[in-house]
Amino acid sequence: MNSDVATKNNASTKTKSKKKRSQWSEVWRRLKQNKMAMAGLVILTILVLLAVFADVIADYDEVAIKQNAAVRLQGPSKDHWLGTDNLGRDIFARMIHGARISLMVGIVAVSIAILIGGTLGAIAGFYGGKVDNIIMRFMDVFLAIPSILLAIAIVGALGQNLFNLMLAIGVSSIPGFARIVRASVLTVKDQEFVEAARAIGATDTRIIIKHIIPNALAPVIVQGTLGVAGAILSTAGLSFIGLGVPKPRPEWGAMLSDGRQFLRNASHITTFPGLAIVITILALNLLGDGLRDALDPRLKQ
C-alpha cells in the first residue's frame, strides 16, 4: 500500500501521459487479482500468439490446405497432433490458421458494432424524445430480424468474402449495442455530475464524450467481449452453412461442418474445432467479467 501511494505521488509530479499510464496500471493491478480473468487472458494470449505465428508453426500451403489422401481420417498421432480430416489435412494446422480468421472476424465485427451502435445509442439516450424514438424504432426493426438471418442476407447480397462476412456480423449486432449503450447512458445522464458539467458551461459533445461515455463504458466492455464470442459463433455458424470464408481457407465453423459426416468414425474432426470455439468463448467471457470489475474505480478496495 505504501509503495502504491509513493508511485501515485511520483506520477503526479511528472507529465500528464505518465499520470494516464498510472491510471491504467491501476486497472491492470486490479485485473491481476482476478484469477479467472487472468486465466481467460492467458488462454486468449496463447490463441493470439498461435494465430500470429501460424505460418511459422505450420506452413499454410503445405500443411493446412494441401490434400493428402494417404493420411485421411487419422486419429491424433505424433505426426498429426490432433489427427487429420477427410481430405488428409492436419487439423492442428488448420485450427491455428482458422484462429486467425475467427479472432479477426470477431474483433473487427464487434468494433464495427460498437462504433456504429454505440454512437446511435449514445445519441438516442442523451437527447431522448423524438431522436430517441426514431433511432430506437429503427433498431427495433433490425432487432426483429434474427441476426443470423440478417447476416445471411447481407453476405448473400454482397457476395461471399472475408470483408463482407465481418460487415454482415458487425451490422447484425448493431442493435444490441445501441440498446445497451442507450440504457447505460440513460442511467448516467440524470446524475448530478452531468448537470454539474452543464453548469460549468460544457457543450453537449463534451458532456457525452468526457462525462457520460466513460461512465457508461463498463457494460459495453463486458458486452463487447461477449460480442466477440458471439461473432466467432456467428462466423462458425455462417461457415457451417457454407456462407462463411470461401474454401479451402480453414475456419472453425467450416471445419465443424465438414467433419459432421464423419462424426461416427472420426469424431476428432469435429471435437477439436468445437473445443477451440468453446475455449475461446469461455476465455473471452472470463476476461470480460474481470475487466468490468477492474475498470470500475468505485470497486477499488
Partner: protein, 329 residues
C-alpha cells in the same frame, strides 16, 4: 438598480407533467448587489432549486418551462440569450455548487481534471496550464495539490465539497449559487466549508445566493434573506431585520420551530400542516390553510408584496391592510 448584479423579475416556472402542471415558481422577484450574499430559505419543494436552475437556464425541458419573467444579469436578460452565450456564462460568470458532493463529481475523472475542465473551457488554456491552475485552486481550498490525480471516491465528503467549491470558483465567477452546499455534510465539516466559502467569496468579491433550509447557516453567512413559500418570496429583508423582527406568519413559524437557548419553552411550535400540492395551489394567499392568523379575506385575495419600511418586503394581507388603512387616514 445599476449596481444590481442580478435582477429576477416576475419569474414563473412550471413543470408540465401528465398529472398536471406543477407551479414551481410563481412570480418571483429578487435583486442582488455586487458582493452581497442572499440566503434563499424555504421548505423542501418551495422552488428554491428551480429558481437557481432558472438563472443558469438549466431547467430540464421538458417537463420544465420558464413561462414568464426576466432575469437580468449584468444588465442582460438571460432568458433571451442564446444557448451559446449561456454556455459562456455558465461556470465562467455564474457558477453553481450542487447539493450533494457525493454525486456531483464524475466518478471516473480525477478531481484535477474536473477542476481543469472549466478552466479549459472558459480561459482557452491548454491542458497543462489549466491543470496547473486546477492545482492552485485545490491548494486554495485546502487540499494538497498532489491529490489532484486522485478520484472522487478517494476523498471524504467534506473534501469532495471543497473540490466542488474549487470547480465553482475556478473561473472567478461574479455570482455563485450554492444549492444547500452543506446539507450532506456533518456539522463540524459544515462549519469548515461555510468558513471556506465565506473567505473565498470575500477574496474574489463574488456575489452569492445561498439556498438552504437552515436559518443558522443564513445567520452566519448572508447579508439578506428571502423566505420562499410555494414558489413565491413571502418575505425579503436584511439579515438583521428578519432575525429581530420577522413579519410574515410563516417566517415567525419557522423561528418558532427552532429551539431557543435563552427562553424556557416546553414545546416547540412547529407550523402545522404540509406544503400545499403545487399542482393545486390554494386560492388567495397560498399560506392561508396553515396560517394561524388567517382571516376570511386571505382565502379570497392574493396578497402583493409591500414595503413595511427600510426595504423589508412582506407578502401578507395582514400588513397590506395596515398600510392601506394608514394610507386612508
Amino acid at each position: 438598480m445599476d449596481n444590481n448584479i442580478l435582477d429576477i423579475k416576475d419569474l414563473k416556472v412550471n413543470y408540465i407533467t401528465d398529472e398536471g402542471t406543477v407551479q414551481a415558481v410563481n412570480g418571483l422577484n429578487i435583486s442582488l448587489k455586487k458582493g452581497e450574499s442572499l440566503g434563499l430559505v424555504g421548505e423542501t419543494g418551495a422552488g428554491k432549486t428551480t429558481t437557481a436552475l432558472s438563472v443558469l437556464r438549466l431547467i430540464p425541458n421538458p417537463p420544465g418551462k420558464i413561462e414568464n419573467g426576466e432575469i437580468y444579469f449584468e444588465g442582460k436578460n438571460l432568458l433571451e440569450a442564446s444557448e451559446e452565450e449561456m454556455r459562456h456564462i455558465r461556470g465562467n460568470k455564474i457558477s453553481m455548487i450542487f447539493q450533494d458532493p457525493m454525486t456531483s463529481l464524475n466518478p471516473v475523472m480525477t478531481v484535477g481534471e474536473q477542476i481543469a475542465e472549466g478552466i479549459e473551457i472558459h480561459q482557452g488554456l491548454d491542458k497543462q496550464k489549466s491543470m496547473e491552475k486546477a492545482k492552485e485552486m485545490l491548494e486554495l481550498v485546502g487540499i494538497p495539490k498532489e491529490r489532484s490525480v486522485d478520484f472522487p471516491h478517494q476523498f471524504s465528503g467534506g473534501m469532495k465539497q471543497r473540490v466542488v467549491i474549487a470547480i465553482a470558483l475556478s473561473c472567478n465567477p461574479l455570482l455563485l449559487i450554492a444549492d444547500e452546499p452543506t446539507t450532506a455534510l456533518d456539522v463540524t465539516i459544515q462549519a469548515q466549508v461555510l468558513d471556506l466559502m465565506n473567505d473565498l467569496k470575500e477574496k474574489f468579491d463574488t456575489s452569492m445566493i445561498l439556498i438552504t433550509h437552515d436559518l443558522g447557516i443564513v445567520a452566519e453567512t448572508c447579508d439578506k434573506v428571502a423566505v420562499m413559500y410555494a414558489g413565491e418570496i413571502i418575505e425579503f429583508a436584511t439579515l438583521e431585520q428578519l432575525f429581530t423582527e420577522p413579519k410574515h406568519p410563516y417566517t415567525k413559524g419557522l423561528f418558532g420551530s427552532i429551539p431557543n437557548l435563552e427562553e424556557d419553552v416546553d414545546r416547540l411550535k412547529p407550523i402545522r400542516g404540509l406544503m400545499p400540492d403545487p399542482t393545486n395551489l390554494p386560492k388567495g394567499c397560498t399560506f392561508h390553510p396553515r396560517c394561524p392568523e388567517a382571516k376570511e379575506t386571505c382565502k379570497k385575495r392574493e396578497p402583493v408584496s409591500i414595503d413595511t419600511g427600510n426595504s423589508h418586503m412582506v407578502k401578507c394581507l395582514l400588513y397590506e391592510e395596515v398600510s392601506q388603512s394608514e394610507g386612508a387616514k
